[in-house]
């Protein structure tokens, strides 16, 4: 089995902060948050009424009426982001269709529409059965595969907030192992009452825009969106003259086996997944310039992730900024890992370490560098992106900039 390096040749996203990759790059460089009052459904009964919704979105701008009736909001966001990634990669027609696969990390799928059906059932006014048609998150996978004619592998990973980080890692593995030549991978998740009410029920939603790693933080801000990458074997991508936008150098996924909702408090499990990802990538920890943190802004998560970084980097931890782009995009749950992976590649290529917005003061338990003072220039070429989830499903990606070129890690 040859150890192929996996090149990123296409990027796409739509989220509450930006509707295209260039706009998202601008939002990351400028530190512009999309968190604002929500109007997708009635949030008036809840103490926290904000989130990072894709505002001003009209499906008719992108799809026919027939398509709209067959695609959930999640599926639509997935198709929009995937179209951008596929177009950027110019991969269509370059490989046998059975050698290009699709892997999506999903969350609630079409739950937003199924909720309308359930409400109708409960109130004795049955809703349209079609509202249930797109309930499962694998609908996005199949819709993408058929839309682009990618007839290879088809898979949907559903590990809550680490879904799409894992989907990207697994997609790279399918290429590295020779099972596929190219993969469209990423994730999509739309806002829904289930998750909004659920996180509110757990009392982990901040009534103000989330403030990761900051004193006085009260929890997360929910978001929605999609992000996709096209991955290829580097040599094959070079042979076809593709523009290489970055690298997926390696990944790891493990189970904490600790608790359904609480992270393992010492940070040892989170450190284990970061170390395993570095090992899988063959990258020395000394080469990591910064980390795109899971960084939800919940009191416990941010401390545990900080502890984990100290375990991985030891005395050097204070010199490895731990950045949360969730203050820009909100926590996009199943799509979070992919959106953050795209953000990481964009920042690496722009030569900056992004900032963590909404600083409210220093938390003595979060005593690392979180980029609260603003973004800054860097010549770093490799960063980690963490995705931690309910059930202790934790994943880390090792991402490299385009400037890494043929350099050996």
């Amino acid at each position: 089995m040859s150890l192929k390096r996996i090149a990123i040749t296409g990027l796409g996203t739509i989220n509450g902060a930006a509707k295209t990759v260039p706009a998202f790059q601008e939002a990351i460089l400028q530190g512009t948050s999309g968190i604002a009052p929500l109007d997708l459904f009635d949030v008036s009964p809840f103490p926290a009424r904000i989130g990072c919704q894709v505002k001003g979105y009209d499906p008719a701008d992108h799809f026919t009426r027939r398509q709209i009736s067959h695609l959930s909001r999640t599926d639509q966001l997935a198709l929009i982001a995937a179209c951008e990634a596929v177009a950027m990669s110019a991969v269509t027609g370059c490989y046998d269709p059975y050698q290009i696969g699709v892997c999506v990390g999903g969350g609630v799928g079409g739950m937003l529409h199924a909720e309308a059906w359930l409400q109708g059932e409960l109130s004795g006014k049955p809703g349209r059965p079609g509202l249930l048609r797109t309930l499962l998150p694998d609908c996005s996978t199949t819709a993408l595969a058929h839309a682009f004619g990618f007839a290879g592998y088809q898979g949907n990973i559903t590990t809550a907030c680490s879904s799409s980080g894992t989907a990207i890692g697994w997609a790279a593995d399918l290429i590295r192992s020779g099972r596929q030549q190219a993969m469209l991978c990423g994730g999509a998740d739309a806002l829904a009452m289930l998750t909004f009410a659920g996180f509110n029920a757990l009392k982990v939603v901040d009534p103000n825009p989330c403030a990761p790693f900051s004193a006085g933080r009260q929890g997360l801000s929910l978001g929605e969106g999609a992000a996709f990458m096209v991955l290829e074997d580097e040599q094959a991508a070079r042979s076809r003259g593709a523009q290489i936008l970055g690298y997926l150098l390696g990944y790891a996924l493990v189970g904490e086996a600790h608790h359904m909702t609480a992270p393992e408090p010492s940070g040892e499990s989170a450190a284990r997944v970061m170390n395993a990802a570095l090992s899988a990538a063959g990258v020395d920890p000394g080469r990591i310039g910064w980390i795109n943190a899971h960084g939800t802004g919940t009191p416990l998560n941010d401390v545990v992730e900080s502890n984990a970084v100290k375990l991985v980097f030891g005395p050097r931890a204070a010199g490895v900024p731990l950045i949360s782009t969730k203050a820009i995009t909100g926590h996009c749950l199943g799509a979070a890992g992919a959106i953050e992976a795209v953000a990481t590649v964009l920042a690496l290529n722009a030569g900056i370490i992004p900032q963590t917005l909404h600083f409210r003061g220093v938390d003595p338990e979060c005593d690392l560098d979180y980029g609260h003072a603003g973004s800054r220039a860097t010549d770093t070429r490799i960063a980690l992106s963490n995705s931690f989830a309910f059930g202790g499903n934790v994943t880390t990606l090792v991402l490299g900039s385009a400037a890494l070129g043929q350099e050996v890690c």
């Binding site: 696969g101 199949t142 592998y153 990973i157 189970g255 086996a257 059930g391």
Partner: protein, 348 residues
């Protein structure tokens, strides 16, 4: 291309199905061709009739899990915790006697979490904020079953859950084998889990799925213990079967269907035992592609679920004599398609 090097050994399997708890009752029902399906109560079938389901109604969670703990788990998690426990025992694995970081779990689940989601949302829609249950929400995620099993048995290796139509479990089994192949784990628990609830049947009825998949919906869990054959031999575990290859295509491209089928089956033209998984209309393009001495369709006996690939593979592995070649073909409407090759026993 997709042959595992070396082959992956099946050293244990367990299942819960409409036939009862364990591999034996399902295998007996399959061998005697006795259906375990029962009529769906008329009040759930939205005015339609003649439909059957395969409820695992002999399963009692408290036979496996202390009552207080069982109450916190959704039905799919109860299935998974019980089945993983039985599979570990079948493979001779005792908690505390294996390295937790070297054993992981990969599950497929078609509808994991939806029953809890429906109950959680019903509480809110009927009673507003006071109706929200923070106890229910965590198990609305599809990975709850695998995660609860990992917590119960300390499985700290790779942990992943797939939802991919009628091939959800096959997707998980492929990932599990790859994790072993590349050394991410020594042992993987792999398979699928699904539950059936009245609300789901209501949804199937109004969307026409009961008519479309009239052969009957099933529920339960099927888990295999997978490891490298050399690892199994080193620890003295019996090898029930070897998983030699898994091939998949996402869908059969119009105009190039035969190419897709060829990629799926490679050069395999015959086998001793052929098992199908997935709805019969979906597997139609695969019928007749491989000659077999025996062809079985477990879904007809215990009902079909999105994630029953683990159950079917467990039954196939248990049906093979040493050296016999088995093939499991699986398909979903619109794809994907899977072919999993198995050899019975341990030739070494």
């Amino acid at each position: 291309m997709d042959c595992f090097t070396p082959a992956i050994a099946v050293t244990g399997s367990a299942l819960i199905s409409a036939a009862g708890t364990g591999l034996k009752p399902a295998l007996e029902a399959l061998n005697s061709d006795i259906s375990c399906l029962k009529p769906i109560p008329a009040e759930l079938a939205a005015g339609t009739s003649g439909h059957c389901w395969g409820k695992a109604d002999q399963f009692k969670a408290t036979d496996f899990i202390p009552p207080l703990k069982a109450r916190k788990l959704d039905r799919a998690s109860q299935f998974a915790v019980a089945t993983v426990g039985m599979a570990l025992a079948a493979a001779g694995l005792v908690k505390g006697e294996f390295a937790p970081e070297r054993i992981g779990i990969a599950l497929g689940s078609g509808f994991g979490g939806i029953a809890n989601a429906s109950e959680f949302l019903s509480g809110y829609y009927q009673a507003g904020l006071p109706g929200l249950s923070p106890m229910l929400f965590p198990n609305t995620v599809a990975n709850a079953a695998a995660s609860n099993a990992s917590i119960e048995y300390g499985l700290q290796g790779p942990n992943v859950t797939f939802i991919q139509r009628f091939c959800s479990a096959e997707s998980a089994i492929l990932a599990a084998c790859r994790f072993i192949e590349e050394g991410r784990a020594d042992i993987m628990l792999a398979g699928g889990v699904d539950e059936l609830t009245p609300q789901m049947i209501r949804g199937f009825a109004v969307t026409g799925q009961l008519q479309r998949f009239a052969a009957g919906f099933g529920e339960g869990c099927g888990i295999l213990v997978l490891e490298r054959a050399e690892h199994a031999r080193r620890r003295g575990a019996a090898i029930a079967a070897r998983l030699t290859a898994i091939n998949t295509v996402g869908f059969l491209l119009p105009g190039a269907e035969q190419q897709g089928i060829n990629q799926l089956l490679q050069t395999q033209k015959s086998c001793d035992q052929l098992f199908f998984s997935g709805p019969e209309p979906a597997v139609q393009p695969l019928l007749g592609t491989v000659a077999a001495a025996s062809t079985r369709y477990p879904g007809r006996i215990i009902g079909s679920s999105l994630a029953m690939g683990g159950t079917v593979l467990g039954l196939l592995a248990a049906s093979l004599q040493p050296g016999e070649q088995g093939l499991q073909l699986s398909a979903s409407p619109e794809g994907p398609y899977y072919a999993m090759s198995v050899t019975g026993g341990d030739p070494a």
